[in-house]
Symmetry: C2
Subunit: 730 residues, 2 copies
């Protein structure tokens, strides 16, 4: 089981070991996932794009989306280059090869994260017009195209996430991979943060702006082609819900692997059994996803889409669980010489799957139209917008407590298996994270399905397709809303589990044995860390308001200057609205990025490693609480409004509906910008902390270094905060 | 300096010590405070109550308020009796006298807390009619009456808070007082929780109900006598803002004293210098308040009320600071033989005063009409209620980060003075809490001033007094709004500082040296604890909605059944509205009480002392964050609405105003029910934790005991939660 620590030769030496079969198997699985994605891309491209009008609208969406991502990637170049140097520098203490490896891995993580977002979004844009077209012929075919377009993103997430981890392991060997993996995880997280935040601000500025002038002021329906912001709104679904979400989940997938690998090495000193196990579990997950998503496409009956999707999910779960139970029993059980003890690792992994099921259930309970909470909000719309908001807040607050109790239960379950061995406990918790994201492929497929059918429906509205086609797409859109909401819960849960695992890594890296809560440094760190998600949310909400203000102004201007637009006799200038949202998102991105990256640096160099540990814990706690509340309140308001639109309390146009629209508009930036941005925020904070803490420890006593790092950082933070508070231009 | 631990004889023995001069001096000051309150009561009673109409309305308010408190005290009897037995039982381990003492101290704390609330409220009700009457003659006299009526509550808070602590110290001696003080603090906190929550639900059910039907549906002004809920609304100001707030601050005052006494004993083993110092600081505070509040009454010029009040506050601060600097220098400095070291204790106390000033400034910045945040909300009303809500949330979220950074800074400042001696550090932090609340008398006076002039204004509206009188009262009301907002910030800050001090006590009591964050038990406790304030807020918001629903239904019924009411030709049935609010508050109280008391018990007996410690930390963190956000958002929305009413953006009746009213209505239950209830919640959780942890430790291995306590407790929690989710009766 021993491994030579020869840096580049380790791959060859491992090739002769028993584990290397597994490792190369994992490598092969990740490539298989990518090949499957490629096959699906070829398949999707073959479908027809419909009539000229549809093609034209789709082209506008595609151009808008590409233009957005191009601008965004450009604006990320400077921070990325700056951080490559920073990562290289942080790695130098462990040797030149680690320094280069870490910087390179950072670029790889950033590139993969960006690629998943970009390709996923492109395929979604390609998919939506094809879904709209196919819906005219067959529900089943439309469903197949939509789900397969989504599956491409799912397979890219799985394939690239696993590929990067294995490559680093093979190049650097198990003992040294850790230092490089941090760079890989950081690259993925950073790009995910940017894409999540940028996409979220874009999509909601466009959406809120379009709704306020279109729906509230002018009384025209959603997705009406007369609205100048409608293309920006459709583009937003793609850059926010596809590109942003894909990068976000990719990053959770990748970070949870990295965390488990690091903790696995500590749990089994001198062996890589703890590193191989999570990798193989994930490889099993890839095959489960391939089999089950293929299964969907052949059995989804008409009008039964949700059941078909669920059946595929359950099949994937069954395959995965069987796989990792056998693996844990024979492989880990065999290694430790106690097969039943081996099963504990399967149980820890399984607890993650149970949590995923629980989170699905909790999200569904709090946000679907069928259950009490949304009905409570619907009732409260009768007494106006104020009570609508209050009941939505109550629902969101309650849901976040339910979710955190479920997460706490999972931690207890996965920890209790290994008590009192704390190193093994930390590994057990990270395995729950592995289990939780085993079915990432399926989850991402389900999620991307949402914006694809949403866009297809919007497109059918704009292209004025036949009523029957539009009805089919409306049915699919309802399914998509549910799948999107479920995945959002998973994304948040995964962020917290990954963050907790990274938090456990912190003890290894910071060389501290304990973070005692009664130490005022830890407590102060906890307080400030707890504040950060609130600050971040405040800025994100303001950013959306500002972006929406710009959009409102532009839409009003177009309607005002050319009254023919509202009569449908002149084409609005869609492009200007697209570029307004794009610019708005870019401006806000840098503020939020600066805060995410620089505050931990200030805490680290001014208050040192204990405060930094408390900071992490505080940020995880309040980040989780806020993220779930925002996602739930937003989703519940959305569905309460939809319930009224379905005919409750007087339907569209009633006072209850107006109150419902206010709820939905408040919920939008919470559920699609501020809330989801907290996931990558938590991981960026965690990773930057892990990267800087060795430097913090080195210069702890040197106040010249401490101050000459913290004071400029503080200055930048204050400038960013001041800039984030500028009023919108009226 | 040594003290004999003879239990009842210690008072006599101390009488011969140097410190006993101080202790009896403190006793005398507390009595002086109470005598001053009595003199003010006699003085207030002498003023005239105005014409018959005013007397009649005042009588209705008085009866409503008394009926409410009577019902509330009744519904508290059973929980209090149950808890007396519980406290007796928890004390038996330390001996029979401690058991009796603890149970008795609990009753004393409960009684004092209730008395401060009851007398404070009664005097406010007596004061408001006299203020309205005096305003017809002289602004100066009206101001004097309003401020002195408020000062009565302030002096009761100071006097009783200090009296209880000193009595227990004298009876049980310094070494044994701790175990009894816990009971005293718990009694005060429990009643404060009930009065805060009950009063908060009452006042907002009445207010929201009155506003929705009156202002929004019927378009009649606030405080219009035609509105059947108007008396309930005025009663609500008294039971919520006077009785609830007074009990709340009393409890912070008392708990911070108890925490400092406990930590002071640990910081100076074998001496009571650490116990005497905070007591004497508080005694100095009483004299400062007496002098400065007397000063107000003779120099407040017309139209210059806020300046006069501030001048008094600054004078009190100057006297206090001078006093405790001298005390720390000579008394502690003399004891340790290092006068400059003694000054560190003054510095720690001073850091609390600095924090109070900072919190004042922060509250003012975020909630006053003059500054950016409220202006931002006003701007956002132009695009409707949704953007109004979003900007208010952003303001609240940002403010809570600013406040928590200020608190973190104070902890650092008071801790850094004593590092690396952690016992002394804990004492230093508790001294910041002492400093923070030194001027409680002034703060409570300022706060109670608010509802008194608010009610006086309402009364003048209802009794149709002369326009000039009403104008004077409107000016005073504007001042009252500012003083109320400032005190709310202080109340929250004090709760957190007291909670942090109690948290430090936890280590002493739980006999644990460290609460390591990487221990999954601590982390799980942290997660669940962080959720509790969210759960509590969700229930409180629902409770207000439900209460308001009942009120809306009743007001609509009265308007519907008798159209003459709206024409002003028939008198509405005020009494029914009062009793609807009263009943609503009682029903909800028990749910929230059960959750506050039972969840720590379940955590303790199921997950034990480490999880309980994490639970405390999590609850403090998220409680502070939520409480400040709720207070600020609510206050800022309120003032944004008022800015529009003052004439901005089209004034009353404009669309911007309607959006502003939505913001204000959302903010009401946040700022006056959910947010303020978190203060006593944190302390009740803290104290119950301190009380049960010895029992938890005793039965830690005995699962029969653990389960037979936790399972019934869990069952009650679930029933309470289920009950709290019942829909309002339509």
């Amino acid at each position: 089981m021993g491994h030579k620590k020869d840096r580049f030769g380790s791959a060859i030496i491992m090739a002769m070991d028993f584990e290397s079969i597994f490792i190369y198997g994992v490598l092969a699985s990740s490539i298989a996932g990518l090949v499957y994605a490629l096959l699906l891309i070829i398949q999707i491209n073959k479908y027809g794009e419909g009539n000229e009008k549809m093609k034209a609208i789709n082209k506008a969406i595609r151009e808008g989306a590409n233009a957005y991502l191009k601008t965004q990637f450009k604006s990320m170049i400077i921070p990325v280059l700056f951080l490559v140097i920073f990562l290289y520098y942080t790695g130098t203490a462990s040797g030149m090869d680690i320094a280069i490896g870490r910087a390179g891995a950072f670029l790889m993580g950033a590139f993969f994260s960006g690629a998943v977002g970009f390709i996923g979004m492109s395929m979604a844009v390609k998919g939506n017009v094809r879904v709209a077209n196919a819906a005219g012929k067959s529900f089943n075919e439309a469903l197949k195209i939509a789900y397969r377009s989504g599956t491409i993103t799912g397979m890219l997430t799985d394939g690239l996430g696993l590929l990067g981890g294995v490559i680093i392991l093979l190049l650097f060997g198990p003992e040294r991979a850790y230092a490089v993996l941090l760079g890989y995880a950081f690259g993925g997280s950073l790009i995910a943060l940017f894409m999540r935040v940028g996409g979220g601000i874009y999509t909601k500025s466009a959406d809120v702006g379009a709704d306020i002038v279109g729906k509230l002021e002018k009384g025209i329906p959603e997705d009406d082609p007369r609205n100048p912001a409608v293309v920006a709104d459709l583009v937003g679904d793609n850059v926010g819900d596809c590109a942003g979400m894909a990068a976000d989940i990719f990053e959770s997938y990748e970070v949870s692997i990295v965390a488990a690998m690091i903790l696995g090495l500590a749990a089994f000193p001198g062996s890589i059994v703890g590193v191989v196990y999570p990798l193989v579990v994930r490889a099993i997950g890839i095959f489960s996803t391939i089999i089950s998503t293929y299964f969907i496409s052949i059995s989804g009956g008409v009008g039964d889409a949700m059941k078909a999707i669920r059946r595929g999910y359950n099949l994937a779960a069954a395959i995965s669980i069987t796989g990792f139970v056998i693996l844990a029993y024979y492989y880990i059980g065999g290694y430790v010489g106690d097969y039943l003890y081996g099963l504990r690792f399967a149980a820890a992994t399984f607890s993650g799957i149970v949590l995923a099921v629980l989170i699905n259930y909790i999200t569904d309970y709090y946000t679907s139209k069928r259950h009490g909470p949304v009905k409570e909000i619907v009732d409260s719309t009768q007494t106006g917008p104020a009570t609508t908001i209050l009941s939505g807040l109550a629902v969101g607050y309650e849901s976040t407590v339910t979710a955190i109790v479920a997460i706490a239960g999972t931690i207890i379950a996965s920890a209790i298996l290994f008590l009192p061995n704390y190193t093994m406990v930390a590994y057990g918790i990270s395995l729950a994270g592995i289990g939780f994201l085993t079915l990432t492929g399926n989850n991402v497929s389900m999620d991307t399905f949402g914006p694809i059918v949403d866009n297809a429906e919007g497109l059918s509205e704009m292209a004025n397709l036949e009523p029957k086609t539009r009805e089919i797409l409306e049915q699919m859109d309802a399914v998509g809303n549910t799948t999107k909401a479920i995945t959002k819960g998973i994304a948040i849960g995964s962020a917290v589990l990954a963050a907790i695992s990274l938090f456990n890594d912190y003890f290894q890296v910071a060389k501290i044995e304990s973070l005692p809560l009664h130490d005022p440094q830890v407590f102060v760190g906890l307080l400030i860390g707890g504040g950060i998600p609130f600050l971040f949310s405040a800025i994100a909400i303001r950013a959306v308001s500002r972006g929406a203000f710009g959009m409102i102004k532009e839409v009003r201007r177009q309607f005002g200057e050319n009254p023919l637009i509202l009569e449908g006799k002149a084409k609005p200038d869609y492009g200007r609205c697209v570029s307004i949202s794009t610019l708005a998102a870019q401006k806000e991105l840098l503020t939020l990025g600066a805060i995410a990256l620089l505050i931990p640096i200030v805490i680290g160099f001014l208050l040192h490693e204990y405060a930094l540990g408390g900071y992490l814990a505080g940020a995880i706690l309040s980040g989780q609480l806020l993220a779930v509340y925002m996602a739930t309140s937003g989703g519940a308001w959305d569905n309460a409004k939809k319930s009224i639109e379905d005919g409750l309390l007087g339907g569209k146009g009633s006072d209850a509906h107006k109150a419902g629209v206010v709820g939905d508009t408040v919920g939008d930036p919470l559920k699609d910008t501020a809330g989801p941005a907290l996931n990558p925020l938590l991981k960026v904070i965690n990773l930057i902390t892990l990267l800087i803490v060795p430097i913090v420890l080195t210069y702890k006593e040197n106040w010249l270094v401490n101050l000459s790092i913290s004071i400029p950082a503080l200055a930048v933070i204050f400038i960013a905060l001041w800039y984030s508070k500028r009023p919108p231009k009226m």
